[in-house]
């Protein structure tokens, strides 16, 4: 202790202190931000990663580069984690059909095993969000809480009834009905396309589980008031009343005023 206090006026003391401060801050930040990435429960064998690498080089490397280090046409995939691959490939968004503002959902190109292998390969490149556990996908959370979280965090893009919405310049937030719980969770932790990342720090796994519960429940509930007209709100209601409502009434007026003779 004495040695330390004697050296406190050393010319390099300030630099050492700064270095220490940065290391502590950086270290804590790294721990905090990788909280949700730390629970890699899905186990990948070495063989999976090897097979995944082959698939990657044949199908993905054109844009994402050899070793997934990224090119001008596609970002680096080091550290995106298995969850990102499972979402993008598992919903058919990747491989991308064409360069567009956003990759839309389309028929999947790889089977489950191949998707698993690709995930294994990308996960092996660096730590990232892993494929979620079944315990957060069971849809047994608090739907009402999930609804509140959804309205505060998601509804501005995805619409309060999860019917989707427009973003700028051709980008869009897709409708969420028919999306599997796993993919919803993965989207939240990886922030695909134009979606922001909802890390476990700002939306804990419990909250994500509630949101999934809410979405699955409103999907299962259906529409209590009859056909939902796309859940698009007053625009589709207005179109319906002008075309169908007024249309039927005009047909009746023509019938009423036509001569019977």
């Amino acid at each position: 202790m004495k040695a330390l206090s004697q050296k406190r006026r050393h010319p390099l003391a300030a630099i050492a202190l700064l270095l220490m401060g940065l290391l502590v801050t950086g270290g804590l930040y790294a721990v905090a931000t990788t909280v949700n990435q730390a629970k890699a429960t899905t186990t990948f064998s070495a063989n999976d990663a090897e097979e995944g690498e082959k698939l990657f080089e044949a199908n993905c490397a054109t844009c994402h580069g050899m070793g997934a280090s990224g090119t001008q046409d596609g970002p680096s995939l080091v550290g995106v984690g298995a969850a990102a691959v499972d979402f993008q490939v598992g919903t058919g968004r990747m491989p991308m059909q064409m360069n567009a503002p956003q990759a839309p959902k389309k028929p999947v190109q790889f089977n489950d095993e191949q998707t698993h292998q690709l995930s294994a390969y990308v996960a092996s490149l660096g730590p990232g969000p892993s494929i979620p556990e079944a315990s957060v996908l069971d849809g047994q959370g608090d739907a009402a809480k999930g609804g509140e979280l959804f309205r505060v965090n998601c509804a501005m893009c995805h619409n309060a009834a999860a019917a989707g919405g427009a973003l700028t310049r051709g980008k869009f937030a897709p409708a969420l009905s028919g999306v599997s719980s796993k993919h919803i969770y993965e989207a939240m932790v990886t922030g695909p396309q134009n979606m922001p990342v909802f890390s476990d720090a700002n939306l804990p796994p419990e909250g994500k589980r509630d949101i999934i519960t809410f979405l699955k429940q409103i999907e299962a509930n259906g529409s209590p008031g009859g056909a939902d007209l796309g859940s698009l709100g007053p625009v589709s209601e207005g179109l319906f009343v002008w075309i169908a409502g007024l249309g039927v009434i005009i047909a009746f007026t023509i019938w009423l005023t036509s001569r019977t003779s």
């Binding site: 503002p101 739907a143 009402a144 999930g146 609804g147 509140e148 309205r151 505060v152 509804a155 501005m156 893009c157 995805h158 619409n159 309060a160 009834a161 019917a163 989707g164 919405g165 427009a166 973003l167 700028t168 310049r169 051709g170 869009f172 937030a173 809410f214 429940q217 409103i218 509930n221 529409s223 209590p224 008031g225 009859g226 056909a227 939902d228 007209l229 859940s231 698009l232 709100g233 007053p234 625009v235 589709s236 209601e237 207005g238 319906f240 009343v241 002008w242 169908a244 409502g245 007024l246 039927v248 009434i249 005009i250 009746f252 007026t253 023509i254 009423l256 005023t257």
Partner: protein, 559 residues
């Protein structure tokens, strides 16, 4: 004739009990006289005359279903936790108003159906009022003596929008709250006094705790009472003016050709009420409207994608969406003398609606001033026979529709897979260019249709039968029209421009010159109806079509 009758003995004694009761009532209220008068009122029959009736019936349905809803709705903004049967909202903190709206939807027997009846009929009410006004405009039914009734109709349109908007805001769900927030923003954008008005209206900072109760009172008391008053005025004037009629043989400005109200027409109208009710009930039974449970309770922080007002406020929302925040480097929002002037909100919210309603209310007088037409008109114009008016109407209609479409710009973008920005840019261009194109195209189409009418009146219908004459010429046989059909094609007025006339002092003043210019613009392009002489010439000289061919230049046809 009997001399034994005393002065106060009834002159008529009914044979049955029912008859005696009827007679008792009739002697006191004079019902049979009223019935005789109204039962004999003649109404011309045409499908386009029935939209006003649809509006009236929707309003009756609104009153009935609305009364049901008031039994269960509580307009309080006090906080509560939802305890009803819709699980995705269980225990969620919300206002009593929203909670009671949810109870109407899920826990009151028939409540959801009645809510949907109420909302669908509200949409249909404003829609039928609008279509009715379009019909009146395009057929020139607003001309003397009906100008004031046209104004009453315009007031009814505004009142129906007010009724709709106040009702839309009542459930206190996220969607209606977002709508109220936009109204609050528009009010606050009014320079200097805006914030004061907003605080007055909301009883403090938005959203406050009083607005739902205040809107509720307007929605169930003041606005419907005013609508009812205006409907009474409107129908009273219809009785005074009698109904207009489309041109046809035997119809003129001095008569009404149609069916008497009683009994057939009254039965038809009564039946039509139930048809309208049936259509609304079917819509309410099978199609969701305003699923408030989807939107959740109002909270000023979230704004859902796809937040739109009901269709009749859509054009204002669209104008707001179209307005840029900066033009080049110039910010539309300015700070002058320490005051913020939010022209980016104020202009789109008030100017287009202001223009639409000003033109709507003043149009009968504008046209009367231009045409100097002070005669009474009870025979309608076919839209093609008033090309400039029809073109003006279509220009306004297209302008409205551009703003209307802009309110759904996000849905256009997602459903047609185009960029939201591009949709906005196109609609901005159409906002200015659309009405001009619509005016030109409509006028040309109307003139072309008039020319076609003239052609058919003169030469009859093409039969498609080709005949070879002895000297080798081929002609197509035209079948002449019967008199009734021809009347429709030739029986209209086509005024020529009215040149400037000197006033009482013998001076042609500037205003009169301007009027003459407008009159020229209004009537310059015209296709005159075929005259009897032309008809005689056409029918006298079969084969010599060229002599009376309607020329390309319509201006030469005017005399």
């Amino acid at each position: 004739m009997s001399a034994t009758s005393t002065p106060n003995a009834p002159t008529f004694v009914a044979k049955t009990k029912g008859g005696r009761i009827t007679n008792f009532v009739d002697e006191r209220v004079g019902g049979s006289g009223i019935l005789r008068e109204f039962g004999r009122k003649v109404f011309p029959d045409h499908w386009s005359f029935m939209f006003g009736e649809v509006a009236l019936y929707s309003f009756v349905i609104l009153l009935l279903s609305g009364t049901f809803l008031t039994f269960f709705f509580d307009p309080s903004m006090a906080e509560t936790h939802y305890e009803g049967s819709y699980t995705p909202l269980k225990n969620v903190e919300m206002s009593v108003a929203y909670s009671s709206s949810l109870d109407i939807s899920f826990d009151v027997r028939g409540g959801l159906f009645m809510r949907q009846v109420h909302h669908w009929s509200a949409l249909l009410f404003v829609a039928s009022v609008s279509v009715h006004m379009l019909r009146v405009f395009f057929t020139g039914a607003f001309r003397k003596p009906r100008e004031m009734n046209w104004v009453v109709g315009g007031v009814l349109l505004i009142l129906s929008m007010a009724a709709g908007f106040t009702g839309y805001s009542l459930p206190d769900d996220l969607l209606s709250g977002n709508g109220l927030r936009i109204i609050d923003g528009v009010i606050k954008s009014i320079p200097v006094v805006g914030t004061y008005i907003s605080f007055f209206l909301f009883g403090g900072e938005f959203p406050g705790t009083v607005i739902i109760g205040r809107l509720y009172m307007l929605h169930i008391l003041l606005v419907p009472a005013l609508i009812l008053l205006m409907i009474v005025l409107h129908l009273f004037m219809v009785v005074v003016h009698k109904h207009t009629q489309y041109p046809g043989p035997g119809r003129n400005d001095g008569n009404v050709v149609g069916y008497p109200l009683g009994p057939v027409y009254a039965a038809k109208a009564g039946g039509f009420f139930f048809i309208v009710f049936g259509v609304i009930a079917l819509m309410a039974g099978f199609f969701t409207i305003n699923p408030i449970w989807n939107y959740g309770p109002y909270d000023p922080s979230p704004v859902s994608a796809g937040t739109q007002p009901d269709w009749y406020i859509g054009f204002v929302d669209g104008a707001l969406r179209l307005m840029p925040g900066t033009i080049g480097d110039w910010s539309v929002e300015q700070v002058w003398f320490g005051q913020v002037f939010s022209f980016n909100v104020l202009l789109p919210a008030l100017v287009p609606a202001g223009i639409i309603f000003t033109v709507l209310f003043t149009y009968p007088w504008i046209e009367r001033w231009i045409t100097k037409d002070n005669r009474e008109h009870h025979v309608l114009d076919r839209p093609r026979n008033a090309p400039t008016r029809t073109a003006i109407g279509m220009a306004g209609f297209v302008w409205y529709c551009v703003m209307w479409a802009a309110a759904g710009s996000d849905l256009i973008a997602t459903h047609f897979h185009v960029s939201l920005n591009d949709v906005t840019y196109w609609l901005r261009a159409l906002f200015f260019v659309g009405p001009v194109i619509a005016f030109i195209v409509t006028k040309r189409v109307a003139l072309a249709l008039q020319r076609k009418d003239r052609e058919i009146a003169l030469h009859g219908r093409e039969t498609g039968r080709i005949v070879r004459l002895p000297h080798g010429e081929f002609i197509e046989v035209h079948a002449p029209l019967d008199e009734y059909k021809r009347y429709k094609l030739v029986g209209f007025e086509s005024p020529s421009p009215l040149p400037a006339e000197p006033n009482a002092h013998g001076v042609v003043d500037k205003k009169e010159k301007r009027r003459a210019l407008l009159s020229k613009w209004f009537f310059e392009d015209r296709v005159a109806p075929a005259t009897p002489a032309e008809l005689a010439a056409a029918h006298g000289h079969h084969g010599e079509h060229e002599a009376i061919e309607s020329g390309e230049s319509q201006k030469t046809l005017s005399h």
